[in-house]
């Protein structure tokens, strides 16, 4: 059941009620994955570190929905959401990777920060802030040289927008009119560094003018709003009009990574943003009751539980294979 107002809004965009539910489910799947990841970590069943995207689910789903299956994705360290939202992604293979298993996307070699599935044009998360941006230029060149109408989406954080890599990449994409969506998830912090301290401007998107491209800021917790600006940017890119810089304003609920006392922000601030929660917001927009929403969310949780079972039943990598995969 979708509310009439919502239906109209969806129809304008060519989104069916079913698709809307899928989008919602995807956000719930992301939320569930992240919650489970945190739990597994706390239980000591996963090592290393992780960067949770709880609170940012609308960004991931809004962007991926605006892209087509054969477009490209370049993702960040906080990449579980974008990865799960991507075409053909399997929570099983993701969870197995997170748990370091041989069945994982990267055979347990990559882990949380490096999940990739090149077969589906998911070119991977990246442990280096800004690290995927120069790579996006090359993906854009491939598309241009092959003369396909594909698009590449390069995701990065507000912190990423202050790296030299950002500057070189966006400039190159601009002067060559490459079909790239530079999608900045401004979640207000780069680790402990507040956006306001690291930038002397109001919006990351203000930087678009430095490259002669279009920049737009969107409420990153509003699924359809993100979708809309992404759709526009994608269309521009497909028309050969070059890159767009999108700033999706959102917030990370959890600490930066596994160990973060969060001394740099207040509980009130976190709470304020939690009220702008994207999942409930979209469910409400669709006219779902709490029960309906909860039922769907339970489905998502169930799916993630299955992925844990899958992973637990998966073998560890064999030490005998340790030298594999360095060279082709």
């Amino acid at each position: 059941m979708v509310a009439a107002v919502a239906l109209e809004e969806l129809q304008k965009r060519g989104i069916s009620a079913e698709q809307a539910h899928e989008m919602l489910l995807k956000m719930m799947l992301i939320r569930s994955f992240e919650e489970k990841a945190e739990e597994l970590f706390a239980l000591g069943r996963v090592h290393g570190t992780m960067h949770l995207s709880i609170g940012q689910e609308a960004s991931a789903v809004g962007l991926s929905t605006a892209l087509a299956r054969n477009d490209y994705l370049l993702n960040t360290h906080r990449g579980h959401g974008h990865c799960l939202a991507w075409y053909g992604s399997s929570p099983d293979l993701m969870m197995a990777e997170f748990m370091g298993k041989e069945t994982g996307y990267c055979r347990g070699r990559g882990g949380s920060m490096h999940i990739a599935n090149v077969d589906t044009n998911n070119l991977g998360a990246n442990g280096i802030v800004g690290g995927g941006l120069p790579i996006s230029v090359g993906v854009g060149l491939t598309i241009k040289l092959r003369k396909t109408d594909q698009v590449a989406a390069a995701v990065f954080g507000d912190g990423g927008a202050n790296t030299g890599a950002f500057h070189e990449s966006v400039n190159m994409a601009s002067i060559w009119d490459l079909p790239i969506i530079y999608f900045c998830e401004n979640n207000q912090y780069a680790m402990s560094m507040a956006f306001k301290r690291a930038f002397n401007i109001e919006h990351v998107s203000d930087r678009a003018s430095a490259y002669g491209i279009i920049g737009v800021t969107v409420d990153g917790n509003d699924l359809l709003a993100v979708y809309d600006v992404a759709v526009e940017a994608v269309a521009r890119a497909r028309r050969g009009e070059g890159p767009t810089l999108i700033e999706s304003r959102t917030y990370r609920w959890k600490g930066h990574s596994k160990s973060d006392k969060q001394a740099y922000r207040t509980r009130e601030e976190v709470k304020e943003w939690q009220e702008k929660e994207p999942i409930r917001r979209f469910a409400t927009f669709l006219g779902m009751s709490d029960e309906e929403r909860e039922a769907l969310h339970a489905q998502a949780r169930q799916r993630i539980e299955e992925s844990v079972v899958f992973s637990e039943n998966s073998p560890e990598p064999d030490v005998a294979d340790i030298m594999e995969g360095v060279y082709a």
């Binding site: 990246n126 990423g160 560094m193």
Partner: protein, 339 residues
Amino acid sequence: MPEQNGHPNGAARELTVVEALREALNQIMAIDERVFVIGEDVGVYGGAFGVSAGLVQAYGADRVIDTPISEAGIAGACIGAALTGMRPVGEIQFMDFVTISMEQLVLQAAKIRFMFGGKATVPMVLRTPAGSGTGAAAQHSESLENWFVHVPGLKVVMPSNAYDAKGLLLSAIQDDNPVIFVEHKLLYKTKAHVPEEMYTIPLSKTNVARQGKHLTVIATSVMVQRALQAADILAGEGIELEVIDPRTLMPLDDAPIIESVIKTGKAMVVHEAVKTGGFGGEIVARIMESEAFGYLEAPVRRVAGLDIPIPYNRTLEMNTVPQVQNIVDEARKLVKGEY
């Protein structure tokens, strides 16, 4: 400030490496206004590994500077400040990210003095945590010290314990050259006796960490601790390792190494970094080119990281770099004449 080189006796106040480094920063900042700290999250967050915790409260945000994610900028900020009379201590959050600072460190910091005819100094320290063992995978586990060893003009320091960490950091800050100060993550929580007063351990002074007569083991950073553990184990078998810790890799004080090899007739180098192209080759060559060559009773062996990126999976990760058992096995073989 007294210069110390042996571990003093007396009441054993134990500190972790993190605490020792923090104390060094605290003490020098209190007396030298030229010293400031700069890097990502070094302020309220206290640094990714907590080394600078409390400093911003003590010395203010002007002297404990949180930066944007701009590793080239951090390095440059240190260079420019050093060139104009300050003594900056920069932090690169993980050694992997020095890859973004290389132009500034190698083409600027290291060369400015020489290029300017010896008429300028760049007294800066760049601290950075290195190494694997934390499940952080290939882009957060690098051990790149030999890159810097290969760059004249830079000094490269790698402490292996809390006592050295404090004394070496104080020396590095007071040195008039750019110093790359490499801290191993797995050492951060290890403890040692650390005197409360300020003291320095001279740079380019190799330390004999344990005396022995059967085999010289030259180890760096966390591998010094593993070599010492291996030595304990082998002592039970009557095999006595001499464990040598260069502490400063460049410029290298190689005399104690040579002397030791002359004494033992056998040597082994242990480092975590990838074996090929690593610091181990330098040590082997130094021994080869020295008087010690004539005393060698067996080939010098390298025990080092596999030639692969650091894998995420915990078991694979452990198997990528030397563990105590690997050192024990290799040392035993060497001593028993199996090479």
